[in-house]
């Protein structure tokens, strides 16, 4: 479906993406996470054809996206700060989108409007931030795109609205295999909706895959020992986070659960508990392990 091959992009001699390879299969909901300035929005802009890479290609079903109306007709990009024409109402914006997207679904538009009431005669620029985002999502979903790119688009929505929109997206995915790529800092939210996730850091996609698979790869344990433990006993484990209070250790370890368990048990701990680990924690520990925010 969407493919980035050896994509490099820089802004003013500052490298943002370096030889990025990434693939998004059809019908998936991909969450894009990464620290600020990692290049999440850049990837979305590259996929939507707003910008072009210095090298490499971005394709949709093997067709280059940049300046390719046929490919772009299937993609809708909703940025973090949606733009509306000066003094435009939602009706005018609908007309604007209808000009370019033959797939625009009037029924869907009406359905969304009924579900998310928006004053149709009022100028959008007079709306609140949340209302503006709501309008953006109504228009984006009405376009009926094959690929929906959402750049932190849920931020600013109230919880009810957020939930309803998620349902809409889920429905669209199951009805017609719409592909969604969402960039967000809210990992709890991504965890709810995404089936796949990618972590962008240090100009590359450092981690990408099914949410469940990723979650299965990270494990959190609390182990305590009667005597002072020689930490050499943890050797061989890929510990990405470690906390120690006396003889009690809290460890976040990457790898096979069986192997980890076997090694920890071999140390004969007095306390041995496997703790739950959510996506946000995984992201935080993984980024920490990569040196992000460690100095503070």
């Amino acid at each position: 479906m969407i493919q980035l091959k050896a994509v490099t992009k820089s802004f003013d001699n500052s490298l943002v993406l370096d030889q990025v390879d990434w693939f998004v299969r059809k019908g998936s909901v991909f969450g894009l996470v990464g620290p600020n300035g990692a290049g999440k929005s850049t990837i979305l802009r590259l996929i939507s054809g707003v910008i072009t890479p210095e090298s490499g290609v971005v394709t949709l079903d093997d067709q280059p996206v940049y300046d390719n109306p046929l490919a772009k007709q299937r993609i809708l990009f909703l940025s973090d700060d949606p733009f509306y024409l000066h003094q435009a109402t939602i009706k005018e914006m609908k007309e604007f989108y209808k000009l370019f997207y033959p797939s625009f679904n009037e029924t869907m538009y009406q359905r969304l409007l009924n579900n998310f009431p928006v004053p149709t005669k009022k100028k959008i620029n007079d709306f609140s931030k949340g209302m503006k985002r709501q309008v953006g999502l109504i228009l984006a979903l009405s376009v009926n795109p094959d690929v929906l790119l959402l750049d932190e688009s849920f931020d600013g929505l109230d919880p009810v609205m957020r939930l309803t929109l998620k349902r809409f997206i889920a429905q669209e995915m199951s009805n017609r295999e719409m592909t969604v790529v969402i960039s967000s800092h809210n990992l709890r939210e991504l965890e709810d909706i995404c089936d796949q996730i990618a972590l962008i850091d240090n100009k590359k996609v450092v981690m990408s895959g099914q949410v469940d698979t990723i979650k299965e790869e990270f494990h959190k344990f609390q182990v305590g020992f009667r005597d002072v433990l020689d930490v050499a006993g943890f050797n061989g484990l890929d510990i990405i986070h470690q906390e120690q209070v006396g003889n009690v250790f809290t460890l976040v370890i990457k790898g096979s659960l069986d192997v980890i368990k076997a090694q920890l048990e071999s140390l004969d701990p007095a306390l041995y508990v496997e703790l739950p680990l959510n996506l946000e924690e995984i992201f935080v520990y993984e980024m920490e392990a990569r040196g992000y925010g460690k100095s503070i």
Partner: protein, 711 residues
Amino acid sequence: MENLFRARINVGFFRFLIKRNTRLMILTTVAMIALYPLFAFTEFVFNGTYSQTMFNIGRGFQLAVFFVSLVIVPFVIFSYLNSKKSLDVYHALPITRKDLFLTGLVASIVVVLVPFLLIYGVGWVYNIMVVPGVDNTRIFENLYYSLALSMAITLPFMFSMMNTGTSVDGFLYGLIIHLIPMIAYGTYLVFGNTVLLGFRAPTNNTFLLFTAPLWSLFELNLNTNLVYPNPDLVALYWFFMSFAMAWLVLYFYKIRRSEKAETPFTNNKFYPIIVSMFILIVQVFFYSTFTLLTDGRGLDLRTLIFPVFFTFVGYMILDVIANRGFKNFTKAFIKFAILTAISLTGFIGATLTGGLGYTNYVPNPSNVEKVEFLINDELGLFSPAYTSYIYNTTQGILAYEDDAEIAGIIEFHKSILERFDELGITSNSYNFGENTSITSSFPFKLSPWVTSQVQFKYTHNNGSTTLRSYTIPVAWTDTVLPLSVSKPNLMNRYPHLSQSAKVTSLSYTPAVMNIKTPLDLSKTQSLFDTYIEEYTRLGSKILEGDQLVGYILSEVVTTNEFNNISSQALPVFASFTNTLALLNPQAVNISDSLVFEFVRPSANDNPAEFYIQSFDGNLRYWNVDSSKEFATFTLTGSEMMQLLPYLTAHHVNEDLVGLIKVNPQFSLGVERQTNFVFYSLLEEGRDTLNTLLNEKVPVFKTFDQLYFNYE
């Protein structure tokens, strides 16, 4: 260019843009209607008459509004370029950049042209209703000029938009791009006139018509006398140039970095190139202007320090705008220093080397095929005595193709340069009035401020041309004085002697112009051939003084566009024996009822002030003090008979005896300033004159009384 022609207008989006900009169109329509037809119509309503002045002012306003619309509208249509979040929408749309660009461009033009055409239509109806003999051709020509130039006006701003990230920067540098050709041309003129001795400014603004669309818009629409270059072709040129410009703008649009919107420049090379070019041109303009203002003093600190200071301030202002602050001040200072070093090196180098040899260049005679030589002198030696609208700009140009004559002209050219060199003059901005060391072998002393424009146009063997023009004291024409009585000058002065004019009647009159005898028209050619042959043979002897016998008067219709030259008077001298044989003049008999006047110069008078050299008898007089009086004496017909052998014209003499004023008894029909004819007297007639004036009491007259018979 292929990209441009493959682009397609997105009709739906086009309609959408037009609909969204309807209010802007209404606003423009109201502004134009108030400033153009309504402006003129109000005048008509209040005064009941049509006022051309009001209408012209209105047209000027209308063009200004048209220009402003052409500037503003693209900024409105393409406003999305300067906002990152709008670019996220527009550039994600399923439309190619070239289609998006073309649709926007055409929509911009339509948004401007709809009000313009509407108002033009209203203005036209007003013209038909109110203006007597309305010039429809002119009206539609103007419309054609405006339409043809519309894209060329708007595209430089769009080019700027494609390289900048904000509207303010887009507008500022768009304006600079529009101004650069005009400032560059102004610099070229001031630099040439100041630094390049011999530089001649072009007589028209062809350069600007082809490089500055803004200039062309106003010039083509407002200058009703423009003949060359053909205004229709200039407009057509801009129409086609617009496509090249659109292609360039499209290229920059395609490579425009969306992510750099909202920053001053989306193209890092744009600002340094445009601003460096602008500052360099402005610096040279200021150096030249300040040199000019110091009366050709040449290079000194004052001519350089102020331009550097002014441009420094300008550069820093531009830098502060570009960087939105003073953070780049040191770098800007260094860049300015480099630019100044370049411009100063260039300017000083050009000045010291005389424009890299431009000023000292005189062609080798063996390389010259033809010389076109022109002297516009106040004495009228080389140009017709009385110039008026009937003479075109080529009048007075003497063409020489003979090797010896070419060599003579080149020697004259050299002598001018040597004399400039002796006086230490290196530029055109020199006031001869301040100089007292001008030497000359001219027959009489001339004030240094009596100057003449001399122009040399050399056509080289390879077809290239060299043009030089100098303002020199007339006294410096001493070496080429014989050319004033050369055949080319004769043919130039009297076009009917060549094939370019048709003679419709021919007559002869004696110098006192009391009678006119018709001549046989069928013998015109043989008479003229004889006259030319004798004139050429006598050459510079004419300058030494010869008795003026009479004139051959011709009614002429020219075969070129200047067909309003009505008549010509050819002087016939006593030494033109063959011509006189053909004319067979009857003995002159002057009635005593005819009165003549003699004007005696006072001891203080400069003979030059009394110099009468024109064949048609005009008094060449300048620096007239209206209160100054001349001593005049009345002469009877019989007294005049005694002076006839001593009458002359075109006589250059240091010791002027005086002037004889003759009142022609018939209309000469020649373009002249006075009805009277003035001759000078040959030295040989001084005794006879003194005898005649003995016991006569002078009557003192002012110049106007003498020249025009004013009371």
